[in-house]
């Protein structure tokens, strides 16, 4: 349990990845038929086509490997000891990454069984274990009705503060997502979207613009485009006119592209509102009301002028959430980012204020 001290802000880290250690961990949360299915056929719990975009080194921090021998992020005590406690993190939003694998699966029922088992496992073994862990329950868009039911199954449960929505090729503004958004609004849970690794890999994936980047790093430069495209798509297709209470958390898509994009959308809409008939006001207004963006990977700028410009866009102070992306290779150091990079006047908002606005007070359930 964390106790907020007067001279230290409670920190909400909105991007922490836990992992189950072995498939056997999930089996108790499945029907006997699915147990047999996954035991017989195995599971590919990652989405990126590793023979296509192979990481030049490791995707995780070597110092995040637990002594127990499991994968980075698979030992809750190691995560607590090496990340949560040293940085005095009051709440770590858990975004389980193994369910990302289902974005490359064609079997909707298998995807649902696997994501549901992950949700139950992480609730019981992580969220119930320490109240500094909060969870985004994962749903897949393979079957939106099933996804909505999964959201309702976890609604109101302690420590469940968001829905982690996976993406196939269909854009987030498509009305097929409406049952998911309806359930999320009903449960008062924001929808969080994180890159899965499948982007640019499969016919069933989201993709970057223009073509096929050659390497992992080349793809990573423009992966932000997928987040940007979905922001545009949700606005253009009137999602927030249909769901005025919906909140969307864009995790690890960056944010320095946002201001030019909104300026472009606002300009085009002012010139020809008839081209976007489901948009009822300036596109930027929807973004400022409904979206938040996480800080990692924070751009690495050189001049004071650039830093000032990065945080200058209207309303950004209410849209940024701190994130580390622990235990991945490009984890942002919380102390460095918060003390040396986030402007003092928005530090409180970025550390926890915006998170409380987005996820509700339960995101700080560890703070008494």
């Amino acid at each position: 349990m964390t106790v907020a001290t007067p001279n230290r802000l409670p920190l909400v880290d909105c991007d922490v990845h836990p992992m189950y250690e072995r498939l056997e961990d999930l089996l108790p949360y499945m029907s006997s038929a699915w147990r047999r299915h996954f035991e017989d056929r195995g599971v590919r719990p990652y989405a990126r086509a590793r023979d296509r975009y192979n990481h030049p080194n490791k995707t995780f921090r070597v110092d995040a490997l637990p002594g127990s021998g499991g994968a980075a992020g698979s030992d809750r005590d190691h995560t607590l000891a090496t990340h949560i406690e040293p940085f005095n993190i009051a709440s770590a939003l858990l975004l389980p990454q193994q369910p990302y694998g289902v974005t490359a699966w064609g079997d909707a029922a298998a995807a649902n069984a696997f994501t549901a088992a992950n949700n139950d496992f992480f609730r019981e073994f992580w969220v119930d274990y320490d109240d500094r862990f909060t969870l985004a329950v994962t749903v897949s868009p393979h079957d939106p009705a099933a996804a909505a039911a999964e959201i309702r199954r976890h609604a109101g449960q302690p420590g469940v503060v968001a829905v982690q929505l996976l993406l196939l090729d269909r854009m987030m503004g498509d009305s097929s997502f409406d049952p998911i958004y309806e359930a999320a609004c009903e449960a008062n849970l924001p929808v969080a979207v994180h890159q899965s690794g499948s982007e640019g890999c499969y016919y069933s994936s989201q993709t970057v613009a223009g073509g096929v980047p050659r390497s992992y790093g080349e793809r990573h430069v423009v992966l932000t485009q997928v987040g940007a495209a979905n922001v545009v798509d949700m606005i253009v297709n009137g999602v927030f006119e249909r769901f005025p209470e919906l909140r969307v958390v864009m995790v690890e898509w960056g944010f320095s592209w946002l201001a030019p994009l909104l300026a472009r959308m606002d300009l085009f809409w002012q010139r020809d509102p008839g081209a976007a008939p489901r948009v009822g006001k300036l596109p930027g207004e929807y973004v400022r009301k409904h979206f938040t963006f996480t800080t990692q990977p924070l751009d690495e700028l050189e001049t004071r002028e650039e830093w000032d410009a990065l945080f200058a866009p209207e309303g950004l102070d209410r849209m940024l959430l701190f994130s580390s992306d622990y235990p991945h290779y490009d984890t942002d150091d919380p102390n460095f980012v918060i003390r040396s990079r986030i402007p003092a006047d928005i530090r409180e908002a970025v550390c926890f204020g915006n998170a409380v606005e987005t996820f509700g007070p339960q995101v700080l359930r560890s703070v008494r």
Binding site: R214, V221, A312
Partner: protein, 336 residues
């Protein structure tokens, strides 16, 4: 000095191309549906299905413009065609038409359109067309092969040899027609969304050119991204350099921070300038970055006038209005 690097020209009627085709190709193209689509495409960069707006395509730039580059957007739309042989025939007819009608020996230049799906053929076209002295650039219709892929090397070698820059401009079918490049995410059902996301094509191709080592192979290559705006460039350069720092051992052929290649070899046109006024004021203070931005009116499609640019950029406008001389280079610059 005022240089307009993004003007659009089109034939009103397919029949205008007849003199530049063989009889058999004339007959091939003399189909109602094709001729209709050429007529429709004259009136709009093919961003939307709303054709038919009467615009004065192909009119010469105003008297205040000292040097201009025109691109045939009808030629660019071959990136949505299925028949690549017909596509080459069509753009060659357009190139012939351009040589006679859209350019002169002095300050009004057209871009010679090539077919990215056939780089060897394109290189031959570039060398042959450059001899006339009437072309100011090579227009490369975008295809799903990114511009940093070495299959484009014959095109770049020819462009460098004849001293012409390569210009990449959307045709409008990107993210819409099969065979043309996608936009970010998935399928975008509205022209509004596609227009909003069009700069992503420039982002990915700039990234590809830099991390593919194109400018190490062709240090004299000049590339103009036209019609994509420019406010997003600083954000891209931050990501580009960061990823290079992280993964530079994976791209050993990239010898320098990628932004350095951009600051030497890539230019962006201004349209629509109003969207980038905030970034211009806050992030374009260094000369190296300011020099990348060149005036492109995008006339006659919802274009920015010289006065619009002056309103948006204030006293900096004169610098940007003149910047295009650098990308259009010595070949055409000599004619001014």
């Amino acid at each position: 000095m005022i240089v307009d690097c993004d003007r659009h020209v089109a034939v009103r009627d397919y029949a205008e191309l007849n003199p530049y085709m063989t009889e058999s190709w004339r007959r091939h193209f003399e189909r109602d549906e094709f001729m209709g689509s050429v007529r429709e495409a004259a009136a709009h960069v093919r961003m939307t299905d709303r054709f038919g707006d009467e615009v004065d395509v192909g009119s010469p730039p105003g008297p205040d413009v000292d040097l201009s580059l025109s691109v045939s957007h009808q030629g660019l739309t071959i990136n949505g065609w299925s028949d690549q042989v017909a596509a080459k025939t069509f753009v060659e007819a357009l190139n012939s038409y351009a040589e006679e009608h859209w350019s002169d020996d002095q300050a009004r230049k057209a871009a010679v359109v090539v077919n990215a799906n056939d780089p060897v053929w394109s290189a031959e076209v570039i060398r042959r067309r450059a001899r006339s002295g009437r072309f100011g650039a090579v227009a490369l219709p975008l295809i799903p092969t990114l511009m940093g892929v070495d299959s484009f090397d014959p095109i770049y070698a020819a462009a460098v040899e004849v001293g012409l820059p390569v210009v990449a401009h959307f045709s409008g079918v990107e993210g819409h027609y099969l065979g043309a490049p996608s936009l970010g995410g998935g399928v975008h059902g509205t022209a509004f969304a596609r227009a909003a996301l069009m700069p992503q094509l420039a982002e990915t191709n700039i990234t590809s050119l830099c991390l593919g080592g194109t400018f190490e192979t062709f240090p004299d290559l000049r590339v103009l991204f036209s019609g994509f705006g420019f406010g997003w460039l600083p954000s891209l350069l931050w990501r580009l350099d960061r990823e290079w720092r992280t993964f530079r051992h994976d791209v050993p052929w990239v010898k320098r921070p990628p932004s350095e290649y951009v600051l030497e070899s890539i230019w962006l046109t201004t349209w629509p300038a109003a969207e980038s006024s905030a970034e211009w004021g806050s992030l374009f203070s260094e000369d190296a970055l300011r020099g990348r931005v060149v005036f492109g009116s995008h006339d006659p499609f919802d274009g920015d006038s010289v006065e619009t640019l002056r309103t948006v950029l204030g006293q900096d406008a004169e610098e940007v209005l003149a910047n295009g001389a650098a990308v259009l280079g010595p070949v055409v610059g000599a004619g001014v």
